[in-house]
Structures are given as structure tokens and as C-alpha cells.
Amino acid sequence: MPERMTCPVLVQLVTEYLEGVMPPEDAAQFEEHLGRCPPCEVYLVQFRKTIEICGRLPEEVLPVEVKETLLAAFENWKANR
């Protein structure tokens, strides 16, 4: 019988796994595969790190003109409310 949880299948399911919405039988197979397949384990670590780094991306610096316009609008709002 061909294996169902192959490496290419596993990489499709990583977000489903991390979101905790995977049916328990599938999650068990997913974890069983990870336990015997180092590259897939590395891949999962990559994926987790990617999410972590995205979460630490600094806020984009707004162009000075944009910020000045908005802060002027704020002062204007304050003066006229």
C-alpha cells in the first residue's frame, strides 16, 4: 500500500497542522512522518522561523509628508471638535 503522508503531502499541510485544525488521525500521521524524516523536520522548523521573523518585522517607516499631513489633520481635528 503506498504511503499517504509523503514528504510532498506533508509540506502542503504545515499551516493546517500549525493552526491546530487537522483531524487527529492526520496529525498523528504528520507527526509520525516528522519523527522519521529529518528534512521534513527541518522544513517545519523553517516554517515556524518564517512566521516568527514575519512577526518581528519592524513597522514600515512612513514618508515624512504623509505623517506630517496626518498629524496636521489631527491638530485640526483637535482645534475644531
Binding site: 510532498p8 509540506v11 493546517e16 521534513c40 522548523v45 514600515e60 498629524l71
Partner: protein, 230 residues
């Protein structure tokens, strides 16, 4: 209403409550915090409705004006960010119609969630391979071996931004809200009016491409050219 035991206020987090109070007191720094936090995500979001980046910037400008106008009436029936993004959606819809472009989100989401081929197919041996069917042909690069300083470097951040900029608009918006802005899947689903399943597929596609961009960058930085062959 007698049974409405201030259910409205309960939805507002302590942070939101404090921020709203500071805004109402006219504290410019509080408004600046808000703008820094949401402006670029709002532009990304508005871009789903209007055809150009410039129009999206206009929408967000109008959104901030709307936020100021509505601030004294804001009752906290939703979180501050949900309220702000709703204002943006209204402005963007108005402008999108004027620009003769209305995007049915559900349609856009399912287009981006369907069609494309499976992720990472090029990384695996074919199913009929004699020795290792379906096994990795190009091993994933171990991020744990990267110097900590590189993981969180400006260059890495720039690679991520570039990768997100090249994503289809729904995928770009979903990863921005989920992973950069740390929204919950429910918040994203509601803001974009898409199904849970589509949200997850869009997020997965986006993460996969950003992951690849980081891996390629690390491989170049290591001087190995491409991730090593198995």
C-alpha cells in the same frame, strides 16, 4: 436598554481603551502610534478594492479622517482595529465603484486559493523514482544554523517585504494581517469576508513563498548559491 449590561465596552481591550482615551485627550503621540501601526497594512488592504497604489493611499488618508471624525462617537462595540478597517473598507468600496472596479472578495479569494499548482513540487523526486519516490530532491536549508544576527537582519526583513510585494493581493493581505499584524484567523476571515478554508490556503501559499525567499537569501548569504542537493 436595561439588559445591555455595557456589553459594548467589554469587547474593547485594555490597550484599546487606553489608546482611545489618549486620542480623545488630543495626544498627538497616540495618533502617531496608531498610524505607525496600521497605515501600511491599511494600504495593503485598500489595494484589494482599488486598481492602483496611489488610490489605496488616498483611501487610507480618507480613512484616518474618518477615524478622527468618528472618534468621539466610537462606542467600542468592536476592537479599535476592526472599526478602523471597516471604515477603510467603506471608503475603498466607494472609491472602487467610482473607479469602476468592484472586487467580489470571495471570488478573488477562491481564485488565489485555487488554480496554482501544489506548493514546493520542484523540491521532490517524482513518485515513480526507483530509490526514493517522493523524497526531497533539494534538501531544505537548516535555518537553525544561521547566525542569529542574520535571522533578524534588515536584509532579511527587506527580502520578506519584497516577497510579500510580489504575492497576489489576497495572499499579501492575509499574511500581512496574520503574521505581521498578528491578527487571529477569525479576525482576518471577518475583515476579508472569506471562508476559514480559503483563509488557510491563502496563508499557506503566502508563507510558503516567503519561506522560499528567506531560504534563497540565506543560501546566497552562505555563499552556497542554492540549497544543497540531496
Amino acid at each position: 436598554m436595561s439588559d445591555g449590561t455595557s456589553a459594548s465596552a467589554i469587547l474593547l481591550s485594555d490597550d484599546d481603551t487606553a489608546l482611545v482615551a489618549r486620542l480623545r485627550e488630543g495626544e498627538a503621540e497616540a495618533f502617531e502610534e496608531l498610524v505607525d501601526k496600521y497605515h501600511s497594512a491599511l494600504v495593503r488592504f485598500a489595494r484589494l478594492y482599488v486598481p492602483t497604489h496611489e488610490l489605496a493611499e488616498d483611501v487610507v488618508q480618507e480613512t484616518w479622517m474618518g477615524v478622527l471624525r468618528g472618534l468621539d462617537r466610537f462606542e467600542g462595540r468592536s476592537s479599535l482595529k476592526t472599526w478602523i478597517f471597516r471604515i477603510a473598507a467603506n471608503r475603498a468600496q466607494t472609491k472602487g465603484k467610482r473607479e469602476a472596479r468592484t472586487v467580489p472578495f470571495a471570488a478573488l479569494a477562491s481564485t488565489e486559493a485555487g488554480q496554482e499548482e501544489s506548493v514546493e513540487v520542484d523540491r521532490f523526486l517524482p513518485p515513480d523514482h526507483a530509490e526514493r519516490p517522493n523524497f526531497w530532491s533539494t534538501l531544505p536549508l537548516d535555518f537553525d544554523n544561521q547566525p542569529e544576527a542574520r535571522l533578524l537582519s534588515d536584509e532579511t526583513f527587506a527580502e520578506i517585504r519584497r516577497a510579500i510585494d510580489t504575492l497576489p493581493p489576497m495572499q499579501a493581505t492575509v499574511i500581512t494581517l496574520r503574521d505581521l499584524q498578528q491578527w487571529s484567523s477569525t479576525e482576518v476571515r471577518e475583515a476579508l469576508d472569506i471562508t476559514e478554508a480559503n483563509q488557510r490556503v491563502l496563508l499557506h501559499r503566502a508563507r510558503t513563498k516567503v519561506r522560499r525567499a528567506i531560504e534563497d537569501y540565506f543560501a546566497r548569504a552562505n555563499g552556497t548559491g542554492a540549497p544543497s542537493d540531496a
